[in-house]
């Protein structure tokens, strides 16, 4: 058969050589494409020139507010002088090594947790039982000869990181429980979970922060006051748990029903099936979307500045409003803040893409 077919067809000819325009054709292949390229290059050159002029050529590298006012470029002395305040807020100046150390510790713990080989149930417990208490002791002091520092003087970058990291760590178990409750076959439990999740997801974070800061004190017995930072943290945990629950639910739905049935037929009861069979599979699948959620939450913690907590965005804003620099270094301040947020979010985004690739190759 094959012979007949080849006879019937014209002899195979070598494909015509692809036009060796190479890479350039992608930019200047057609008139329309050329126009797009030229416009893009013009835009890039324009932006680069503007940025370089502002950041370097017209910038002030030493001096004070007066010299900055005279120049049209960036005001670097502002950044140099205010950086420490922006990072740590009103934390006692001599003790600022402590939030610095806490921040580094947090990064180290986080870096270790990012490696897939360390993922286990122990890791979550290690975070809750070791990392968080150590961080708290470092920041609050009062033991081991550390001067006590009230939470009202906590501020800056450590506060931003803690609100989001601690929030998400503690929201994780709650979110998992909520997801299990939503998938439960007990109607009352399911209704309660669905109600909580949908209400929290239907309202903005700011309203929950308002609830925690304005409304909650009304619900407390007289004489009982809860720290404002703690209240905001609890609000963030509750808020995050609803979103985590929805992500985990997706993971649970991805685990084939046969896994539940196999577990039950081995005589395991509900919690054993969940803990040993279903959750390990479900949670692994939801790690990439969880990282995406984390990026969002890291950015959302900026909202605590609206209810009067001194997070990183807030310290930057008060640095900008410092009478010495008022109206001079607005753009500088916001760009520093944007650079910090951008760096961490972009790194997390890159990590999320790494994970997706990792899971695709390791069939996990």
């Amino acid at each position: 058969m094959a012979d007949v077919q080849t006879l019937a067809l014209a002899p195979p000819q070598p494909a015509p050589a692809a036009p060796r325009l190479g890479r350039l054709s992608a930019y200047f292949g057609t008139p329309g494409n050329t126009l797009v390229s030229v416009l893009s290059i013009a835009a890039i050159v324009f932006i680069a020139k503007l940025a370089f002029g502002w950041l370097v050529v017209d910038a002030v590298f030493s001096g004070n507010g007066e010299t900055c006012k005279a120049a049209s470029g960036a005001c670097w002395p502002f950044v140099a002088q205010k950086l420490r305040y922006m990072l740590f807020g009103f934390y006692p100046y001599d003790e600022q090594w402590r939030p610095m150390l806490a921040l580094l510790l947090l990064f180290a713990a986080f870096l270790l947790s990012m490696m897939p080989r360390f993922w286990s149930r122990g890791l979550l417990f290690a975070w809750i039982l070791v990392v968080l208490p150590v961080l708290y002791i470092l920041m609050a002091g009062g033991v081991f000869g550390l001067t006590p520092v009230a939470t009202t003087s906590w501020g800056g970058l450590p506060l931003s990181f803690m609100l989001s990291f601690v929030g998400l760590t503690l929201a994780m178990p709650l979110g998992i429980v909520l997801a299990l409750a939503r998938a439960s076959n007990l109607p009352a439990i399911r209704v309660l979970a669905v109600g909580f999740i949908e209400i929290v997801r239907g309202v903005p974070l700011i309203s929950i922060l308002f609830m925690a800061t304005v409304m909650l004190p009304l619900f407390m017995p007289e004489g009982v006051t809860i720290d404002k930072l703690l209240r905001a943290q609890v609000a963030i945990i509750l808020f995050a748990s609803a979103y985590i629950a929805e992500i985990v639910r997706g993971g649970l739905q991805d685990v084939p029903a046969g896994q539940y049935e196999a577990g039950s037929s081995l005589g395991l009861h509900y919690w054993q099936v969940m803990r040993k069979i279903v959750l390990p599979q479900a949670l692994k699948k939801v790690i990439p979307p969880m990282v995406g959620l984390f990026i969002g939450f890291f950015q959302d913690t900026t909202l605590v500045t609206i209810v009067g907590l001194v997070d990183f965005l807030d310290t930057v804003r008060s640095a900008i409003r410092d009478p010495q620099w008022q109206g001079i270094a607005v753009l500088e301040g916001y760009l520093v803040a944007a650079a910090v947020y951008f760096t961490f979010s972009a790194l997390m985004g890159a990590y999320s893409r790494f994970l997706e690739k990792h899971f695709r190759t390791t069939h996990a």
Partner: protein, 382 residues
């Protein structure tokens, strides 16, 4: 004690315990709260809604005076929230569609530029952008005394943009009726012409006729002198501009920030949607002789739409909820008005309950609407 191991008993037991705990916590909170409120002399109930508000709202989508009721003030807040989120969703979607398509461009420069745009917007908090846009407007534009007079009657300053306002003095309802009727007629004509076109395969001028049906009645009415419009030109006083339509910097900064954030999300969604369409569709369209632009518009985008709708719903819900960041820069949205009410009356519980309820209801409404649309465009399986 055999019943302890009975699954049915356990199921009931757990549920009763869960409900009991919720009721107990709720009741404890309720009783402490009512005790506290009584002690602090804070009124309860929703009577405050019908009392005069006593504060001014700088920007109201519906008419509002300080003598109006608190309830109307909250209604203004809702209208402002809806206005800014709706506009942000529309502008953001259009911009995001363009950026998302640019992201898929075969020209690497354009694709990279679009990528940088998306990444810059997605990796920096929205609140930071809102502060930034707001302070840039305040900082760069001149104070109102030296307002830039761009066109006759158009002033730009750091207290906003003032343009002449068109006041419809007479025939307003007739105009509205003409526009509405025109829209219905245009919609019907387009449907009929579409059906004819599908049946015969020949193009007709349905679009043109539909546009004419929409515009002509209103135009004729106006030409016939059925509508009286007077222009309210702003006049520059010593300290402020009076008259005209005032677009405030808070609104502009919020709309700009929200629309940009929507556009970045929409761009990513559109890109993912287009990528999910089978490559064979492109090739088949090319084989039929369709140009790339037409392929995108007629073949790929309609299919991508099915993948795009559910995440798009989430984006719209997010922008609606994110509009609550208005309070940070002083745009009187629902949360900010509620906050003012809360400070005046001290009735935090009722006020927060109202605005949370409104957000919840509108969120559900948006979801339902988008789900209906999704079902409308979803693949009809036989």
């Amino acid at each position: 004690m055999a019943f302890l191991h009975d699954m049915r008993f356990r199921a009931y037991f757990y549920q009763v315990v869960a409900i009991g705990v919720v009721i107990l916590v709720g009741w404890t909170m309720f009783s402490t709260a009512s005790g506290n409120l009584a002690k602090q002399n804070i009124a309860t109930g929703f009577d405050f809604l019908s009392r005069p508000a006593g504060f001014v709202i700088t920007e109201a989508a519906i008419a509002f005076e300080a003598t109006d009721t608190v309830g109307r003030a909250i209604l203004v807040g809702i209208a402002n929230t809806v206005k800014v989120s709706l506009l942000a969703a529309i502008f953001g979607t259009l911009l995001g569609l363009a950026v998302g398509i640019a992201r898929m461009s075969r020209n690497p420069l354009l694709a990279r530029l679009a990528l940088v745009y998306v990444e810059l917007l997605r990796n920096v908090p929205l609140l930071l952008y809102l502060f930034l846009w707001y302070s840039l407007i305040i900082l760069i534009l001149p104070p109102v005394r030296q307002a830039l007079n761009l066109l006759p009657g158009v002033y730009l300053s750091n207290s906003g943009l003032v343009v002449p306002a068109a006041l419809v003095e007479s025939g307003g309802s007739a105009l509205l009726a003409c526009l509405l009727g025109g829209a219905v007629a245009a919609f019907a004509i387009r449907r009929v012409s579409m059906r004819k076109r599908v049946a015969t395969g020949r193009s007709n001028h349905g679009g043109l006729i539909a546009t004419a049906a929409f515009v002509l009645p209103a135009l004729l009415l106006w030409l016939a002198g059925g509508v009286g419009i007077s222009w309210d030109f702003p006049t520059a006083g010593k300290f402020r501009l009076t008259g005209g339509l005032h677009v405030r910097p808070e609104f502009v900064a919020l709309l700009f920030g929200l629309a940009l954030s929507v556009s970045a999300n929409v761009a990513e969604i559109v890109r993912a949607g287009i990528q999910a369409v089978n490559k064979g569709q492109w090739e088949a369209a090319a084989a039929l002789g369709l140009a790339r632009g037409k392929t995108m518009r007629l073949v790929v985008l309609p299919q991508a739409l099915r993948i795009i709708i559910p995440p798009l719903t989430n984006t719209y819900l997010t922008v609606f909820k994110n509009s609550s960041l208005a309070i940070a820069i002083g745009y009187p949205d629902l949360v900010m008005v509620s906050n003012t009410v809360m400070n005046q009356t001290g009735q935090a519980i009722e006020t927060i309950a109202i605005f949370m309820g409104v957000y919840l209801a509108l969120s559900i409404a948006i979801s339902l609407l988008m789900n209906w649309y999704n079902a409308h465009v979803a693949l009809k399986e036989r």
